[in-house]
């Protein structure tokens, strides 16, 4: 019912230390990790094929919630879709690989195998939850469609699972399953979206801007649910958002994207507390805050690049970078791993040349 519990202090933050063994066998049973290597995605435009992702490498540890933040057009959704090998035409994956434990390289999957992987192994929650449901069918019927598509034999059990998931998220399961999407509020739909992503026991869940269209209070609820379910079910979660706050609230690890590159990646607390990349720093600074000195916040100059305006050579961020050096114009900064943090910036590298280590040669 209507309980606003209060006094919840710091929500428990798990140690991102769930170290899985070699992930062999049924992926559904174990928590998968994801390794994206040199992923390049291009879109066909009147100006030819332009890269929306320019060689992204990213490792998602099993059992973590990883946030991907970045401005509009930085390629977050494209990356998220690539994990399901679902880049929509006129886009296509032009190179690289997406290794998911238990599935292998998703880029190589096709046809029925790909279809079965989606939903069963990979759950996807849409940004526009209100539009991610078939308006003509009740949720329950859509659930059954899902079950049949994945050859679930025990459909009543599936319905039971769905109900308990929904109830777990604070909804009246039976009623929701009996409803059409227009009879549900935005927050309820988003919960339904999460339920559909999880009901087949997918262990890798990708949420693309799950709260953008929602109200503040509803957003808080959904974020809490995401966090709790993640822990209860032992998931690997990837959450795409453009809101630094949202990412900060729930994620363990944070990847910052810019112009189709991951420019910084590391534990959320650290990335926020001591950002290395000038872009990350700028982003954090640009957030108006409820406490502290407001005069310290300032906007990033310039505007984010689009497909056509991404610099052809050198660092993608060079045009807006306060620390720009000459080398930035010609050489693309390599991703450098350091204490579990990855940064791709010449300036950051120059600042701490000591204990650097290439992630891969």
């Amino acid at each position: 019912m209507t309980t606003i519990s209060h006094g919840v202090g710091e929500s428990p933050r798990p140690e991102s230390s769930a170290v899985p063994g070699l992930l062999v066998g049924t992926a559904a049973a174990t928590t998968p990790g994801v390794r994206v290597r040199d992923l390049t995605v291009v879109y066909r435009t009147p100006l030819g094929e332009l890269p929306a992702l320019g060689g992204v490498s990213l490792t998602i540890e099993p059992g973590t919630i990883t946030g991907i933040v970045g401005e509009s057009g930085s390629g977050k959704s494209t990356l998220a879709l690539s994990l399901l090998n679902a880049v929509q035409p006129p886009g296509r994956i032009a190179g690289g690989s997406v290794e998911i434990d238990g599935l292998g390289d998703v880029v190589d999957l096709a046809g029925d195998r790909l279809r079965r992987a989606r939903g069963r192994h990979l759950g996807y929650v849409f940004q526009a939850a209100q539009n991610s449901l078939n308006p003509l069918k009740t949720i329950g019927k859509q659930l059954l469609d899902l079950g049949r598509s994945h050859d679930v034999d025990d459909l009543p059990a599936l319905v039971r699972d769905a109900k308990s998931l929904l109830e777990r998220m604070g909804l009246d399961g039976a009623r929701v399953l009996d409803s059409h999407q227009h009879e549900l509020s935005g927050g309820m739909r988003q919960r339904v979206g999460i339920m559909l992503a999880l009901v087949l026991n997918a262990r890798l869940v990708i949420l693309d801007e799950p709260t953008t269209a929602l109200d503040m209070i509803t957003q808080a609820t959904i974020l809490r649910i995401v966090r709790e379910i993640h822990q209860e079910r032992g998931l690997t979660t990837l959450m795409v958002t453009h809101d630094m706050g949202v990412a900060a609230e729930v994620t363990d690890r944070l990847a910052v994207m810019y112009g189709g590159r991951v420019v910084e990646h590391g534990p959320t607390m650290e990335v926020l507390g001591s950002p290395r990349h000038p872009y990350t720093r700028g982003l954090i600074q640009a957030i108006p805050r409820l406490s502290g000195d407001i005069t310290q916040s300032r906007a990033l100059p310039g505007r984010p690049p689009t497909l056509g305006t991404v610099p052809k050579r050198g660092c993608v961020f060079q045009e807006r970078c306060p620390l720009r050096m000459e080398v930035c114009e010609t050489v693309e900064p390599p991703s450098v791993i350091e204490n579990g943090r990855t940064v791709a910036c010449h300036a950051a590298e120059a600042a701490r040349p000591a204990e650097r280590r290439k992630e891969h040669a």
Partner: protein, 302 residues
């Protein structure tokens, strides 16, 4: 601190934009050569309508000894009941048909747009009244009404014909324009214009209309075809005043006078206007197809 903008630069960008648009058009046309064919066909008919009658003497020559002559080099589509060259009839008949089509389309689209805009923009009582009138127009069956009207009214020439067809056909467009207006009206820029105190004339003429221009243009093309068929159909039914150089009259005489459906002698006389209609349809369909793509980004697959 004002920065002076050289007028040329401004003009340049605008010209460039226009160039871009035409380049886009050219690309859409080039992507499927069939569309170019559409443009060519329609252009051909327009030329026919404009200059066709000038190619022939005012009274087309007849050959008393070659009634319903089969196709030959001299008469590619044979001759009619009087020995007149069918091709000449089709060519000289294009003007009436196309002129009516254009007049109808202009009236349909103009009336539909104005009423739709008024209804959508003013909402309230205006809207109710105008939409009731529109409903009425849409409810009264058009073809039967035309049949009745043709007995009451002697249609003198394409202008009158177009006027009547136009007055019977604006309902659909009015409704569509109204709903477009209603949705555009909710868009920020219209509201902003009102908030700025800009005149209604400005808002409708400069803000609303241009946004609907592609839609209206497309409707206009469709209205042209509709009008052509309607009038040819009426001529075919034989309820419109006779005019020998007219496609519909040709159909009528071929079928009911020449027995084109029963024997082959008058078949060319029937087929020539039929082919003309088919060809014109094809041309317009191809252009509409291209327009669809030019104006509708959803269909524009780059």
């Amino acid at each position: 601190m004002s920065v002076t903008v050289p007028q040329t630069a401004l003009g340049d960008t605008r010209a460039a934009l226009r160039r871009n648009f035409w380049r886009g058009v050219a690309r859409v046309l080039r992507r499927k050569p069939s569309r170019l064919a559409g443009v060519v066909i329609v252009a051909m008919f327009l030329l026919m309508a404009a200059f066709g009658p000038m190619l022939y003497p005012a009274h087309l020559p007849r050959d008393d000894n070659a009634l319903y002559a089969p196709p030959s080099f001299a008469h590619p589509f044979g001759t009619d009941f009087e020995g007149t060259d069918v091709l000449a009839l089709v060519v000289t008949g294009a003007r009436y048909v196309i002129l009516t089509g254009l007049v109808t389309a202009v009236i349909t689209v103009a009336a539909g747009t104005v009423l739709g805009l008024l209804a959508g923009f003013h909402r309230g009582r205006w809207d109710t009244v105008l939409m009731r009138i529109t409903d009425l127009q849409l409810t009264i069956p058009g073809l039967p009404l035309l049949l009745v009207l043709s007995t009451v009214w002697k249609f003198q020439g394409p202008l009158e014909m177009g006027l009547v067809l136009g007055l019977l056909g604006w309902g659909g467009i009015a409704r569509a324009v109204r709903s477009q207006t209603l949705s555009l009206r909710e868009r920020g820029f219209i509201e902003a214009a009102r908030g700025l105190g800009l005149s209604t004339a400005h808002i409708i003429g400069r803000e609303l209309l241009p946004s609907m221009a592609p839609y209206i243009a497309m409707n206009m093309l469709i209205a042209v075809t509709g009008a052509i068929y309607a009038q040819v159909g009426l001529f075919f039914l034989g309820v419109l005043p006779f005019d020998s150089n007219n496609w519909g009259v040709m159909l009528n005489l071929a079928v009911f006078g020449g027995g084109a459906l029963t024997s082959t002698a008058a078949l060319p006389y029937l087929l020539a206007p039929l082919l003309a209609i088919l060809l014109l349809t094809l041309g317009i369909v191809l252009i509409v197809d291209a327009m669809d793509e030019i104006f509708n980004p959803r269909l524009r697959e780059e």
